[in-house]
């Protein structure tokens, strides 16, 4: 059943690299909105996990980034753009377990090499573009039945 909303709901967030203690603010906000709208629990979980992973990637690897979401009656769209180092080999980065995270990031519980695979797994549509030295952008769509 499509969502009964008059117009799409949007959210925009700035994410600052290295801010581990407040990580997850954007995902938490999106999750609250989806709960409020009565979206099915499994879809909420997929959208929350994919968004949180995307947020963490900005925090771990980039100087800063921007995350936006759009909730329409039939889909949820999440876009992330960062000012980070970019990814040299996207195929390799999408492999489960491949990570370039330094040890201090692993000590904080991140850098397992499951972030991008997790985003893809939880999205119905997943697009990633990256330019080395400029940054990475990701678009994810979760369909609402």
């Amino acid at each position: 059943m499509a969502l009964d909303i008059e117009k799409p709901i949007e959210g925009n967030f700035q994410i600052i690299g290295g801010e581990f203690d407040t990580a997850g603010g954007a995902s938490s906000h999106l999750k609250s909105k989806l709960v409020e709208l009565g979206v099915e629990e499994g879809i909420i979980r997929r959208a929350s996990i994919a968004t949180f992973e995307a947020e963490m990637n900005v925090i771990i690897y980039a100087a800063a980034g921007r995350l936006s979401f759009l909730i329409t009656p039939t889909y949820i769209e999440i876009k992330i753009e960062d000012m980070g180092p970019g990814i040299e080999d996207l195929d390799q980065a999408m492999e489960e377990g491949y990570s370039t995270a330094p040890d201090w990031v692993r000590d904080m519980g991140w850098g397992a090499g499951m972030g991008l695979p997790n985003m893809k797994k939880n999205s119905d549509e997943f697009k990633i573009d990256s330019v080395v030295g400029e940054g990475t952008s990701i678009e994810m769509i979760m369909k609402l039945p």
């Binding site: 203690d21 407040t22 990580a23 995902s27 999750k31 629990e41 992973e53 519980g109 397992a112 499951m114």
Partner: protein
């Protein structure tokens, strides 16, 4: 397995209590890497971890995990405790290490999130 049984088996102390002690926990996941938790989790599960960073509670929030057990009696900082209260996630700590805590619960019938 009921939450109070988990507490008894692990000799755990309650740090934050947000749940009915008779609540059924379906399965558990032991990990220190948060993406691994989000990849393999199932809802209404228990997370056994040695990591006491704020992102543990955030991960539980996103993944629909109801309770977290910190091993080796690790006490989370106040900001983590506050976040758990706000997000309705129960926090426990056990003197057991991760291997022992996981083994005790598995042996008592609490299955893995992954089912293998």
């Amino acid at each position: 397995m009921k939450l109070h049984e988990i507490i008894e088996i692990l000799g755990a102390s309650i740090i934050v209590n947000t749940l009915d002690m008779d609540m059924q926990i379906q399965n558990a996941c032991s990990a220190d890497m948060m993406s691994t938790v989000m990849y393999y989790h199932t809802a209404n599960s228990l997370l056994i971890t040695g990591l006491s960073q704020p992102s543990v509670v955030r991960t539980a929030e996103m993944a629909g995990i109801k309770a977290i057990v910190f091993v080796l009696d690790k006490a989370p900082a106040d900001n983590i405790v506050e976040m758990a209260k706000e997000k309705n996630i129960t926090l426990l700590k056990t003197p057991n290490c991760m291997y022992t805590a996981s083994g005790k619960l598995f042996q008592s019938g609490l299955p893995s999130c992954l089912g293998k």
